[in-house]
């Protein structure tokens, strides 16, 4: 038999997940609906978008509205993501598909990578809708630095899906999947979240790549991504066996 490699098999599994999602639409539409509803509510809570530089008082001083907007953006992403990630293993639970999957001659890291990539596709789709919506509602003008935001988003997403997928596999084996996932994932995601908010608010006030690159937050993101993609790939074996 001519057996395919790790990458090919993992890709088959990603295609399977996306195909199942395309048929059932169980994950992405709820994520999008949630993200959009939250954005709408947030738009009501903030002062008019013409006053983005206006100070808002927070504990310990004041910040500009624009800093709050970047926090709002990432909170929305975080929660929309966790809603979707909680369903990661739902398709495997139906009719014991997970058993067939576990017997396949593929390293567990391949199963993890496939699930993480499917989640990455979902969260990227949400962001693809959410970022323009935010830009519209809050009159954000990124100018030429939009590609920096894309770069930041990619780095954030890698760590986010690594942690989200690993913890979703644990949460799937508990009695309250949707509840336990945020409890586990949110504390772990604090560094990613801080870095994302910091970088994004710099971009929102007009900083370009050179301005944000010197801040060192990319280092935090890359370190987090590397650490948690590695842990996820290694620990997944114990999470599902």
């Amino acid at each position: 038999m001519n057996e395919a490699g790790w990458l090919h098999k993992s890709a088959l599994l990603v295609r399977k997940d996306l195909r199942v999602e395309a048929r059932g639409r169980d994950t992405l539409p709820p994520m999008l609906a949630f993200a959009f509803a939250v954005t709408l509510l947030l738009a009501f809570t903030l002062p008019g978008s013409t006053r983005l530089a206006a100070p808002v008082s927070v504990p310990g001083g004041t910040v500009a509205v624009v800093d709050v907007v970047s926090g709002f953006l990432w909170i929305t992403v975080l929660f929309a993501g966790l809603i979707g990630f909680a369903r990661t293993f739902e398709v495997e639970r139906e009719e014991g598909a997970i058993d067939s999957l576990l017997l396949v001659p593929l390293d567990r890291s391949g199963l993890f990578a496939a699930k993480a990539v499917a989640n990455l596709a979902y969260i990227a789709a949400v962001q693809g809708v959410l970022l323009p919506t935010f830009a519209l509602f809050f009159a954000l003008d990124l100018g030429a630095s939009w590609f920096v935001l894309v770069l930041v988003t990619i780095l954030v997403d890698l760590g986010f899906v690594a942690v989200g997928t690993l913890f979703a596999s644990l949460a799937a084996q508990t009695r309250s999947r949707e509840l336990i996932l945020p409890i586990l994932a949110l504390p772990a995601l604090v560094p990613v979240f801080i870095a994302a908010v910091e970088l994004t608010s710099d971009l929102f006030v007009g900083g370009g790549l050179d301005a944000v690159a010197t801040r060192g937050w990319f280092g935090v993101l890359i370190a987090f991504d590397v650490v948690f993609m590695t842990i996820g790939a290694l620990a997944f074996e114990f999470a599902i066996d």
Binding site: V163, L166, L184, V227, F238
Partner: protein, 248 residues
């Protein structure tokens, strides 16, 4: 199958001695805190500074507890031996207790001295995240739908938490150093200016709390063993009617 000594065994005696030693030394530490250690400067809170003889050892023991969780979690995943899981679980529970103590004693001191209960500085924030992480760990243990897999699931959280907290500490530290919003907080242990009697008090307090920790851990592990045995006995009794030797 777990084996645990009966109540009067040498091991349970050792636990009892450990408990006595822990409480005696805690009593000594409390006396020293108020009698031997001198009042601190007003900048450190005067009388209130004495809370640090509880606060700092608690923080150390919380870190020790979570380090134990980390090591035992790895050992459990590697060996699948129940004793590692039990030790990790026990250490996590006690670690959460000590972290809670840190998070309560800290603000009590901070309110009069800093003028605020809470500051989002690196140490405070990362301690809070630490607490949340291991509260999540305990939640997961409680909510697992398959008892035979609980240990493996929890072990992963124990390992992830151990890697996450330094990154949290580092990133929060960086975040606040770059964006000072309020008064910068000096490292309280470094600037405490402990003299001879205070240092002695501190180390006695640290030893006393460590003994207390060891005793609690031993008790908790014993309790876990007993629970395991009770479950074994119940399972055996349930199965007893079916246990008649089969004809072959």
């Amino acid at each position: 199958m777990s084996t645990s000594p009966p109540a009067s065994s040498p091991q349970s005696k050792a636990v009892a001695y450990l408990g006595t030693a822990a409480w005696v030394s805690v009593a000594i530490a409390v006396v020293m805190m108020f009698v031997v250690a001198r009042e601190a400067t007003d900048a450190m809170g005067g009388q209130l500074q004495r809370i640090f003889y509880v606060h700092v050892p608690s923080a150390w023991l919380a870190y020790l507890a979570f380090a134990i969780v980390f090591i035992c979690s790895i050992a459990y995943l590697r060996t699948n031996a129940r004793r590692w899981d039990l030790l990790a679980h026990s250490a996590a529970e006690i670690g959460v207790v000590f972290t809670t103590l840190v998070l309560i004693t800290g603000p009590i001191w901070a309110r009069p001295v800093w003028g605020t209960w809470w500051q989002w500085d690196a140490r405070l924030t990362s301690t809070l995240v630490l607490w949340l992480t291991y509260v999540g760990y305990l939640f997961l243990r409680g909510l697992s739908s398959d008892p035979s897999r609980t240990g493996r699931l929890a072990a992963i959280v124990g390992i992830v938490g151990f890697f996450d907290v330094p990154i949290v500490h580092y990133s929060v530290n960086w975040w606040r150093t770059l964006h000072p919003l309020g008064p910068t907080i000096a490292d309280p242990t470094r600037d405490s200016g402990l003299g001879g009697p205070e240092l002695i008090t501190f180390f006695i307090s640290l030893s006393a709390f460590t003994l207390l920790f060891a005793w609690l851990l031993a008790l908790r592990v014993r309790l876990g063993h007993l629970e395991d045995q009770a479950a074994e006995v119940e399972a055996w009794e349930d199965a007893a009617p079916a246990a008649a030797p089969a004809p072959t």
